[in-house]
Symmetry: C2
């Protein structure tokens, strides 16, 4: 019956996961430290043994997201035979990430919308920049290999790619149906493919 103490590092990880889980159910801005603690089964004050401020918690969450999401799309793109396949794999990997963690985009958009440059926003911003870098690399690869239309604006393609996901995510969240994105994603990506691929 011993309630064993959890090491600090584990507690930090559990805290991050609690926030991600809560964000799937409610507006990230409304997540209180009390709610996080309750979800972890500890008292509210205990959180501040491991994080100096609430903002530091959110920053840790953004770090967690950046690591996992980027690793996921990297893995997806590296396994693909062609640039266009890589884009599709990245797209589907991102969709899969959302299905597993529907609270994440809510947190991301929430942080990115902030006007002041807070620490969590900085991390989110940096992740988005790295995401775009990956996209640009794959797109340029596709252009030089002749698979993608060379006349298209690479930056615009990146914006469209990310917007495509945003649109699908928003629709899923509004419908309250996370799986909706799985059903709609192929149709939307088919349009993207038409826009970017060289004409047969």
């Amino acid at each position: 019956m011993q309630t064993r103490y959890m090491p600090a590092d584990d507690r930090r990880a559990v805290t991050v996961e609690a926030v991600v889980a809560l964000a799937a159910q409610q507006n990230p801005g409304d997540i209180t430290t009390a709610a996080i603690a309750a979800h972890m089964g500890v008292t509210q004050g205990a959180l501040f043994r491991h994080f100096p401020t609430k903002e530091a918690i959110l920053e840790a969450v953004m770090d967690w997201v950046a690591d996992r999401l980027l690793a996921r799309i990297d893995k997806a793109s590296h396994g693909a035979p062609t640039p266009l396949d890589a884009l599709e794999a990245m797209f589907m990997a991102h969709v899969g990430f959302f299905v597993e963690h529907p609270g994440v985009p809510r947190m991301l958009f929430g942080e990115l919308q902030r006007a002041e440059m807070t620490a969590p926003k900085r991390v989110a911003h940096k992740m988005l920049r790295r995401y775009r870098e990956r996209l640009v690399t794959v797109i340029e690869d596709g252009k030089s290999s002749g698979q993608l239309e060379q006349g298209n604006d690479t930056a615009a393609l990146g914006t469209l790619f990310i917007g495509m996901i945003q649109g699908l995510v928003m629709q899923s969240l509004l419908a309250g149906d996370v799986q909706l994105i799985r059903r709609e994603a192929p149709g939307v990506f088919a349009l993207f493919r038409r826009a970017v691929a060289v004409r047969p």
Copy 2:
């Protein structure tokens, strides 16, 4: 030198405009009734002469947005000679609306992200549904007139259209440069055009 009282309807309009203006500068979730009142040059308590709750204020803002934005894209599409021109006109009208009111998408996304179905979210949701209805009409027109590829999924096209705007808006907000959307919009729409138009 008499400071005259403002009629209730005018005061309501001024309140809505204050919120829209404030949202251009800060996170909508952080807008307090005190800040709204200060921006209007009245005391905080005065707001509650015209609105029963803060939520009612936000609902009025969403009504304002729905009216103006839908009127704007309707006007744009009606003046266009072909369905594809109509889509482009709607797109540019939406972009123009964002440039004039950069706080609006922030509020919209903020409300739509909420988990509970609040009154403001309901209004925003309804607006989005009506927006999609307009898109679907134009797209179906284009398909039957042979201007748009018939094999494409209409719903997916709507999602892509809205996502395209979301992506551009997010980039503009992140860059802190409202005019960026004006520069990037044509390139992104050109991709959309490639995706939807019948091949020459």
